[in-house]
């Protein structure tokens, strides 16, 4: 019952978010510039401008435009791209798989690196090597992901010539973008995990497990790490938001044809139906991901599971 209630709660949040995002964008976009000017080019006549305005419904009062716009949104009609005339949503959805591929790969890469590393660092945080590595990660956290991406291209694509720096067809082209995007997330997650593991290691249940003869490995993997992972739930929501932000920059650096790349291009061309559609798709994506994580953690943690059932 509670699971249903929390789902309804989340759906309401999604609705508020979508309404907020679209309303805000609508008004900022209309305030900022005249899209017709962009559309028609610099040397269009006044008649041509008027015709275009009529065609796109831009001659009506702002409130009417807004209501029409909301009405169309409810039918998933974001209007056509000003640049290409294709329905904006179709354009975005066509780019979505590439973005999902990149963020999925990077997420897997991040978890594969951050979990063992965080566990190792947190298990005996006072050992000299680990303190050095922890310090290194603290510095690394200060290196913006896009700088790492650029340096990776410089070293592995330009200087060594081992890996391609653009394209997304072959597997070899996936490596640099994945590592680059992963480097946005790995330092933060590793540091939080290490702190959580270190904290868990001081808990009574660890002492009990040790007293009952559990080995180091068992203590770490069966007792400390699961609890440390659950402690990162609060971070996950912001992590995904961060992941998407990182994806945008990474797609630009590696000319990866995803929605981040499309966003920049549309933003520069004032192609606002597409910008709108991207904002909405991103909001829905975040919602789905967060709902899934909630569910996943609910299944993992007996305390949450029981609270949800009872």
């Amino acid at each position: 019952m509670k699971l249903l209630a929390s789902l309804l709660h989340r759906l309401r949040d999604l609705f508020v978010l979508l309404l907020g995002v679209t309303t805000l964008l609508f008004f900022i976009l209309r305030l900022a510039g005249d899209p017709v000017m962009v559309l028609a080019g610099a040397d269009a006549t006044a008649e041509q401008l008027d015709a275009l305005r009529q065609q796109y419904g831009l001659d009506k009062p702002l409130v009417v435009q807004y209501l029409l716009y909301l009405f169309n949104l409810l039918q998933l009609d974001f209007g056509n791209s000003l640049a290409s005339g294709i329905p904006a949503l179709d354009k975005v959805l066509a780019m979505l798989p590439a973005t999902l591929l990149l963020s999925g790969l990077s997420m897997v890469f991040t978890l594969l690196v951050a979990i063992p590393l965080g566990a190792w660092l947190g298990f005996r945080p006072d050992r000299p090597t680990r303190r050095f590595v922890a310090w290194l990660f603290f510095i690394l956290q200060g290196v913006p992901g896009f700088v790492i991406g650029l340096v990776l291209i410089q070293v592995f694509a330009v200087n060594l010539g081992w890996l391609p720096s653009m394209g997304h067809e072959e597997v070899s082209t996936w490596i640099l973008p994945t590592v680059s995007l992963g480097s946005f997330l790995i330092p933060k997650l590793t540091r939080v995990l290490a702190a959580n593991v270190a904290e868990a290691m001081r808990e009574d249940y660890i002492r009990t497990a040790r007293a009952m003869g559990a080995g180091h490995f068992e203590i770490l993997w069966r007792h400390a790490l699961p609890n440390a992972l659950l402690g990162t739930t609060a971070l996950i929501g912001t992590m995904f938001a961060f992941l998407i932000s990182g994806t945008v920059v990474t797609e630009i650096i590696f000319t990866w044809p995803g929605i981040g790349w499309l966003l920049i291009e549309s933003a520069q061309n004032l192609d606002f139906p597409v910008v709108q559609a991207i904002a909405v798709v991103v909001a829905v994506m975040i919602f789905v991901i967060n709902a899934l994580t909630d569910l996943g953690f609910g299944l993992l943690d007996p305390r949450i599971r029981e609270a949800a059932e009872g």
């Binding site: 956290q141 896009f146 929501g237 912001t238 945008v248 933003a267 991207i278």
Partner: protein, 288 residues
């Protein structure tokens, strides 16, 4: 007895290492600040001046000690100019975010019912949406330039402050001294801003430093994407973007601004971490 001695020693050692870290942070912070203030003296060229005879000069060359770019512009002078742009953009954005976030956090802690619910909802919503995507959408339409950039960053990034202020001031409001003030008839808002807010000082200082670092990264990312500073303006993001066409010819065009960004961000992080370590106990829950 023995345990208490080792414990005390350990604590003393932690305190020293925290003080050392803070010292490094302050030293580098002051150095960067000094470089900004004395830019006129330190700068060897006009950052916009091109020198077509010395294009792609490597670092260490006579005319340009950090090298020059595709138009022969001096990278050291450009990096210095970028420092000023980045520090001021990040500083104003951080202060704006802190002002909005702290106020709303305090208000949410004091008020009950609907106001609190609305603020919390707002915070959750903004935090859930990718900041960079939001910033790109806004900047794309309001246009480039220093003030659009700073306002966008500040207005989009305050929820972090609101969330922490809210949580911390809730616990501060339970303290005896706040209760005493209340009993003496001090007004609600005066308690909030005169008694609770000062108690948040340590936490806020740490958050300001970390937020500053985040703003530096966000600013340079937006500028790299061609959305913040006008083209050709000497900012680190622009310099990185310019370097992309010349990776084979002049890798230093990439490494100079990259090193500048990393230095500034790491300095802010060290400063924040040092302050957190020194005032640990006071500033709890700051591992953001």
């Amino acid at each position: 007895m023995v345990i208490s001695i080792t414990r005390r020693l350990r604590r003393a050692r932690l305190k020293t290492s925290a003080a050392i870290e803070l010292g490094w942070g302050i030293t580098f912070g002051l150095a960067l600040l000094g470089m900004t203030l004395f830019q006129g003296v330190l700068s060897t060229y006009d950052p916009m001046q091109s020198d077509l005879l010395n294009r792609f000069a490597a670092p260490g060359s006579q005319a340009h000690w950090l090298g020059s770019d595709n138009l022969g512009r001096d990278l050291w002078s450009r990096a210095l100019a970028g420092l000023e742009w980045s520090l001021s953009a990040a500083l104003i954005a951080t202060l704006l975010a802190a002002a909005i976030g702290t106020t709303l956090g305090l208000v949410a802690a004091e008020s009950q019912g609907r106001t609190r619910a609305v603020i919390r909802q707002l915070v959750d919503l903004v935090l859930a949406f990718p900041g960079l995507v939001a910033a790109i959408c806004v900047i794309a339409v309001v246009g480039q330039g220093f003030w659009p950039l700073v306002l966008t960053l500040g207005l989009l990034s305050w929820p972090v402050f609101a969330r922490v202020t809210y949580a911390e001031s809730l616990s501060l409001m339970e303290r005896d001294y706040v209760l005493a003030a209340r009993l003496m008839g001090v007004g609600r808002w005066r308690i909030l801003f005169g008694h609770v807010l000062p108690g948040l000082r340590a936490t806020l200082m740490v958050m300001l430093a970390f937020h500053f670092a985040d703003m530096l990264i966000a600013e340079s990312a937006l500028s790299f994407l061609g959305l913040a500073a006008p083209l050709g303006e000497p900012t680190w993001g622009n310099m990185l973007a310019e370097s992309r066409a010349h990776l084979f010819r002049a890798p230093w065009m990439l490494f100079v601004p990259a090193a500048a960004i990393v230095l500034a961000v790491v300095t802010a992080n060290v400063l924040g971490d040092g302050m957190a370590a020194v005032s640990r106990g006071k500033a709890r829950g700051i591992d953001l």
